[in-house]
Structure formats: C-alpha cells, structure tokens
C-alpha cells in the first residue's frame, strides 16, 4: 500500500478513535460524515454545489494560469518591464484575498464576474512570480543552439522553452490550485447564489458541523484527486527524462 494512502487511513482512524472516546454533537466521527456525504449527494445539494464551485475554480485557475504565464514570460524577459511590474507583483502577493473580493463585490455587485475576477487577481501574482523565475533561469546555451540550428518559433517554444519552463508551470499550478479553491470558498461565503462556500455558510447558521465537514471533505477529495491523478502524473511524464533519484 502506498505510504500516502496509509497516512490518510491512519488519520481517519485517529479521528474515529477520538470521536468515539470523546463523543459530542459538535465532533462527529468520520463514519457519520461519510453518511452525511452520501445523504447530501443522493438527496441534497452536494453535487450541484460542487459543480458550481468547481466551475469557478476551473475558470479562475485557467484564466490566472494563461494570463500569468504570458505576463511572467514578458516580465522575465525584459528587464524594464520587470522593474515596472515588480512592485505590483509584490503588492499582489501580499494583498489580502478578502479585500479584493469585497472591493470587487462593491464595484461589480454580487456577480459571477466579480468572483472570478477576484480569484484571478489573487492568483495572478503567484503565477507571474513563478514563471518569471523560470524565464530568468532559461539556458543561454540552448538559446544559442536554437538560433544556430535556425529553429522556427513554434518548434523553439515546444522543444526548447516549454520543457525548461515546465517545472515552474507545474509548481505554479499546484500551489495556485491549493490557493484558489480556498479563496473561492471564502468568496462564496461573502456573496454567491450557490456553491460549497455558500452551503457551508448556511450550515454554519445551524451549527451543522457534520454537514460542513461533509461538504468540505467532498470538495477536498475532488481537489486532491485532481492533484494526484492529473498534476502528479503530468509532472512525472514531463520529468521522465531526468536521471532517477534514489
């Protein structure tokens, strides 16, 4: 059994044990949470809420990755642009997520656009900063090789630049995904017409901790599955040319 799975099962077992030793209405055991997930999925709003939140995460994530990568390449490539952008990247990295969401909700109303825009604004600086580092570390020797062998732009991007940037893009994607799903939930609590955050806020009004944990666990499971089965596999495929580390 993989160590990762073993670790998760051990954590669940510990939770079950503690909940059995200290039974309380506000500390449900994992089995109760699992039952609640099943109930919410079968007869409740779980799937619809999950769908809404995942759509927002996917949209915000994709937009931030595409725009951030393009900006990161420009910023990393041109020193003057870097100097002009640098203070704003730092501001963006330190801007509290809540502030951007509140400001955009005030300006644009409680709309889907405001929510997605707030997500993109929060994630963008991280992608720009990561890709900028990647561009700065590009090999001058390989660039010379590409020019000497007259590689056309498309091929140069595909076989020379992209493989060098890939570790940075994957790092930006993974850290960014972890950041985005958290802030999407917060923004949904602040103002939205559905989604996991919205539902958790409703449950909070009734101190329905089992429901809150059920909604959260379902969502985390989807995100972790995406990380394990998409990003990690992509990472392994991209890195297979590297020497195997012991």
């Amino acid at each position: 059994m993989p160590l990762e799975l073993l670790s998760v099962l051990a954590g669940l077992a510990l939770w079950q044990l503690l909940a059995t030793v200290f039974p309380h209405r506000l500390f449900p055991p994992p089995l109760a949470v699992t039952g609640e997930i099943w109930r919410l999925a079968a007869a409740g709003p779980l799937l619809a809420d999950l769908g809404k939140t995942l759509t927002r995460v996917a949209l915000g994530f994709s937009l931030a990755m595409v725009i951030g990568t393009a900006l990161g390449i420009v910023v990393g490539r041109y020193r003057t642009v870097d100097r002009l952008a640098s203070p704003w990247v730092t501001v963006g990295l330190n801007l509290p997520a809540l502030v951007s969401a509140i400001a955009l909700y005030i300006w644009l109303g409680l709309t889907e656009t405001a929510l997605i825009l707030a997500v993109v604004i929060n994630k963008l600086p991280l992608v720009v900063a990561t890709v900028r580092e990647g561009v700065r570390s590009l090999s001058a020797e390989l660039d010379e090789l590409a020019r000497a062998y007259r590689l056309p732009l498309g091929r140069r991007l595909r076989i020379v630049l992209l493989p060098q940037l890939m570790p940075f893009l994957l790092a930006a994607a993974r850290t960014g995904l972890a950041l985005i799903w958290k802030i999407v939930l917060v923004f949904e609590v602040l103002g939205s017409d559905g989604g996991v955050g919205y539902r958790i806020n409703l449950m909070f009004q009734f101190f329905d901790i089992t429901g809150i944990l059920a909604m959260t666990a379902s969502f985390v499971a989807v995100v972790v599955a995406f990380d394990f089965f998409v990003l990690r596999i992509l990472d392994r495929r991209m890195q297979r040319w590297r020497p195997v580390r012991a």
Partner: protein
Amino acid sequence: MATGPGLEIDIAEKRHHGAAEALFAGFRLSVAPGETLAIVGPSGVGKSTLLRLIAGVDADFSGSITLDGVPAAKAPAPGFVFQDARLLPWLTAEANLTELGVAREEARAALVRVGLEGHFGHYPHQLSGGMQRRVALARALSVNPHFLLLDEPFVSLDRALVAGMQRLVRELVAETGATALMVTHMSDDAVRLAHRAIVLGDRPATIKGELQFDVPPAHRSPADIGRFVGRLAEIG
C-alpha cells in the same frame, strides 16, 4: 560530389557591448569550398566569437560574412558542434536529431555512423560524455553535412576517445566534401584534420600566421604531424 560552400569573411568591426577595444577590426578571411580550416590561438582571442558570427548566431557586427554569396544569417543552418555536447536533455538521442527536421531514417543512419547503434532511444543522461559528443556530431552532420563549424570539438575528452573522434570527423568530412572550420587551442587537433591552419593573436585579432599543410589529412604520418605542430608553434 557536391562540396561545401565557399566562405568570405570581411568584418569591419566587432566589439562586445561596453568593451573598450574591438575584438575584430578590418578582419578578412576566405575559405575555399571543401576546405577544412583550423583556427588556432589562445583563449579569449575571439575564436569562438568568430564561429558564432559565421553561424549567423551573432549579427551584431559591421561588415559582411557570406557563404556562396549569401549572408551568413540567411544561409542554411550550419552543422555546429559546440564545446559541450549541448543536447536537449528531455529528448532521446534520436529525437535530438529528428526534432531539428532530420528524417528518422537519416537520424538513425547518422547515429549508427558515429557508433551509437542501439542507443537511439536513450536520453542524454543515460549516455556517457563521449557518447553525448558523438550524438552532437551526428546532429551536426545530419543537419548540414556540407558546412561544419566545430568549436573545440575534442576539449575535455580523454585522448583515447579523441583519436577515434578525430578519425571519424576526418572520414566524414572527406566523404561529404564539407567546408569545415574548426576552432581549437590544440595544435595537434589542427594538424590531424585541417588542410590549412591560421593562428590568431592580439586585439583586435589579427592573423599572425598561416600554414598550408602539404600532405592530405588521411595520409599524414606521425613525423608529418610532429613537423606541422612544430611549425605552428613557431608561428604562434
């Protein structure tokens, strides 16, 4: 048999950014089609820069460099062998050739020619340093077998390997009738492979001397080689 292009170099000035002195000023050199020219000289004299100008990689100079009348930057890609293997580490040996536009069968034939049969699918880190250099040589020969630029092609290889590589280069150049320029600081490399050698010195770089070897590369005896090395040393 088709031979490589003729090369005409006329550099009015080449200066690195911020440098007080020009690296080249009023520098002229002609290389005949099918000729192998060795450019010998101390480190920092501008040998590698000259090769980059000829390859069309560096266009920041005044003057002209032409291959059969075509400006270097617009001429077909040369077969460039760098000081290091400079393979794309994420591509297999074969893909390092095919991704540059070489047909698969041609790439495999070139790899076999340099003794790498059975290593087509290996990534560079799975090959020894010498094997990587041979992939680089195969790449250069497949991309342009008629015009080769060799920048210290045998540096940091052990001498046993160098002898094999030298023989390989000599045979391949003879087969294709390539025009080849080889930069080296080792007189030995020059006298084993070239038809002619020039010695660069000073700044701006000038041709301090030139030696036309009167025995074809494939027929040089150890005595010839010793004699030529001696004469090159006298010039340098």
